[in-house]
């Protein structure tokens, strides 16, 4: 056959390494159990907590989440890849998501995306070499009244013009929320709750 076979028999998780999920993360995950009839139902919240903590969801993380929830790792793999919000590769400290759906497109999202690419020097799905930003696009963010719009981590920015991009990128608080955060999904990090580490940093 013209293309090679992918090896799925060899493990990719490094089983000798110390556990990836800290006790806090695991405790946080377990705190969701009481909300549902099954442990399995805590999977989406669990993955959010893991992604908050590690920046992305590695094979190893999937495997460990599976253990905490007592479900097969394949089921975690299944779910992680279904949802666009879960990253399976390391990403930057901040992730910029540009809406690419119809209203934003009509209001110039295409040009805006090009501007982000130009200023960051990366393409969609890529991370800047300094690890500061990853760039992605998503379908409608339900902020169409502010089209074209962008998310930087949790923070939404509306009516962003290409000319605004340099200033926006330079602003260290471009991901700072104006509302108090709920720490429901946060692993306990003991830091200022409004700026949390993202990206490939390992905690705990």
């Amino acid at each position: 056959m013209a293309w090679p076979t992918i090896d799925r028999q060899s493990p990719v998780t490094d089983s000798d390494a110390p556990p990836l999920l800290s006790d806090e993360v695991k405790a946080k995950i377990r705190s969701f159990f009481e909300r549902y009839e099954t442990r399995r139902a805590a999977l989406l919240p669990a993955l959010h907590v893991v992604q908050e903590s590690l920046g992305y969801i590695s094979w190893r993380a999937m495997d460990e989440v599976a253990t905490v929830l007592d479900i097969p790792a394949s089921e975690v793999f299944d779910v992680v890849t279904f949802y666009t919000h879960y990253w399976t590769k390391p990403r930057g400290k901040k992730t910029i998501v540009v809406c690419r759906s119809i209203t934003c497109e009509l209001m110039g999202a295409g040009v805006l995306l090009e501007a982000f690419k130009r200023h960051l020097g990366v393409g969609e799905g890529e991370t800047t070499p300094d690890g500061a930003y990853s760039l992605a696009t998503e379908e409608c963010l339900a902020q169409c009244d502010h089209a074209p719009c962008v998310l930087i981590n949790e923070k939404k920015h509306g009516r962003v013009k290409p000319d605004d991009v340099p200033a926006l990128l330079a602003d260290p608080d471009n991901d700072k929320l104006e509302v108090p955060r709920s720490d429901l999904y946060d692993p306990v990090l003991g830091e200022d709750a409004t700026t949390r580490p993202r990206g490939g940093e390992r905690k705990g």
Binding site: Y36, Y83, S101, E178
Partner: protein
């Protein structure tokens, strides 16, 4: 419509409305107290009498849906559908961001009516700020005794949890949503059984849209008669409309379902006309799934009945995106096709393969490489994946088919020029040329 007194949006713009104190000061949680003095069945009957039709897109009467719950059930769940992912819809966001307690009150009353023990609010994950706001409001409601055990001394218990999605439009479909709460991929289930009989964790479950539930406290407080007095028969009650695109005042507005698409774009209380007085080329008035109107079809009424007269699937989410005359229609075609190809869950053959095929063609046409036959294949493919009920498990494929079918029907002339003539790529326009 200038004299319409907003009901659902009455707290929008009011300082501190998202906090329980201000909400209560403005009359909040009175309906709850009233409802808890009624029997659950009386609440169901009141909502039935109001003929409150679901605002999530399908327009199914909420009271009737609640009535489908089996009589002899032990556990019931209420799922609040806050997945809101249909472009260009943002009315649920406006409701929750500005007035979270209205939703919580509606949820508690509806949960009481259906005797639910847990209400899960399914929130799309991209609603980050909203999540923090709503979670805080829920915490406040717990602290005030509106949630938890023995609510207001009634003996009724209710837990309310937010369940955040993770980026999948299909989780707005009620059974995709249920699967997603269960920790699975959001693959919709075959129906029957309907969720009312077998839903979340195989228990009887009611799924309602945020806006639907926000209406409930007002129905309880002011009575079904008040509700049916607003708007035409079959489309009663206050309704939120979104309008966006190159209009002067994009936003979410409230009104009766007597307004037309024209009112929505040009009305003073609504969009206030087009930027730079551009002409309207097309409108997708019910979210993109319902189909497209030409600039000559702006008299369509934004109610549950009229859209069918214009070849559309329905009122949908009553969110309109306006396309101006200077937009190449291929942009619209490609954008729609891309959305559905990206969001099809991939279970049903027609939808999985059809949406991605249509996107391939639309992308090629948009790149100026369309050829003879492309429009026909696309038109037919749309027909093969969703113009006939039952072809697939859920409504996404119909939603993918209608805009593409109606767009090709209504803009065939323009499209044919592009597929016949030599390659002509769409010019990328900058936002500054759109908005002054």
């Amino acid at each position: 419509m200038g004299d319409y007194e907003p009901v659902l949006l009455r707290n929008v713009g009011v300082e501190g409305a998202a906090t329980i104190g201000v909400y209560k000061k403005r009359g909040g949680y009175r309906a709850l107290a009233k409802a808890l003095k009624m029997t659950p069945d009386e609440v169901v009957e009141e909502v039935k009498a109001a003929a409150l039709r679901g605002r999530g897109g399908a327009g199914f009467p909420a009271g009737v849906k609640w009535g489908f719950l089996p009589k002899d059930r032990d556990v019931t769940y209420l799922c609040v559908n806050g997945d809101e992912s249909e472009p260009p819809t943002f009315s649920n966001r406006v409701l929750m961001e500005n007035d979270p307690h209205q939703l919580i009150e509606g949820t508690i009353i509806s949960a009481y009516a259906t005797q639910s023990s847990i209400a899960y609010v399914y929130l799309r994950v991209e609603f980050h700020e909203l999540f923090h706001i709503l979670q805080r409001a829920i915490d406040e409601a717990y602290a005030a005794g509106y949630l938890g055990k023995n609510i207001l001394g009634s003996g009724y218990d209710l837990e309310c949890y937010i369940h955040r999605g993770a980026g999948a439009y299909i989780c707005g479909e009620e059974t995709g949503l249920i699967e997603s709460i269960e920790g699975k991929r959001g693959w919709p289930r075959n129906k029957p059984p309907f969720p009312a009989v077998e839903g979340l964790f195989h228990k009887p479950t009611v799924v309602n849209n945020v806006e639907t539930l926000c209406n409930v406290p007002h129905i309880i407080e002011r009575g079904a008669g008040w509700f049916t007095g607003i708007g035409p028969p079959g489309s009663s009650g206050p309704k939120l409309f979104c309008v966006c695109g190159p209009v002067n005042r994009p936003g979410c507005y409230e009104g009766p379902m007597t307004i037309t698409v024209r009112d929505l774009i040009y009305g003073d209380a609504y969009g206030q006309g087009m930027i730079g007085d551009r002409k309207v080329k097309a409108v997708l008035p019910g979210g993109i799934s319902m189909g497209i109107l030409t600039g000559d079809e702006l008299d369509m009424k934004m109610d549950f009945a009229d859209p069918a007269e214009y070849g559309l699937l329905g009122l949908g989410t009553a969110a309109a995106v306006v396309v101006s005359e200077d937009t190449d229609i291929r942009v619209v075609l490609r954008s729609i096709a891309q959305f559905f190809a990206h969001e099809s869950c991939g279970q049903c053959t027609q939808c999985r393969e059809g949406t991605s095929w249509m996107y391939k063609i639309a992308r090629r046409i948009a790149a100026g490489e369309g050829g003879p036959g492309d429009l026909e294949v696309m038109y037919e493919t749309a027909g093969n994946l969703g113009m006939m009920p039952g072809l697939s498990i859920c409504g996404l494929s119909d939603g993918a088919a209608f805009p593409i079918r109606t767009l090709i029907e209504k803009f065939r002339g323009e499209l044919e020029q592009h597929v016949r003539e030599a390659p002509d790529e769409i010019e990328q326009r900058s936002p500054s040329t759109v908005r002054s």
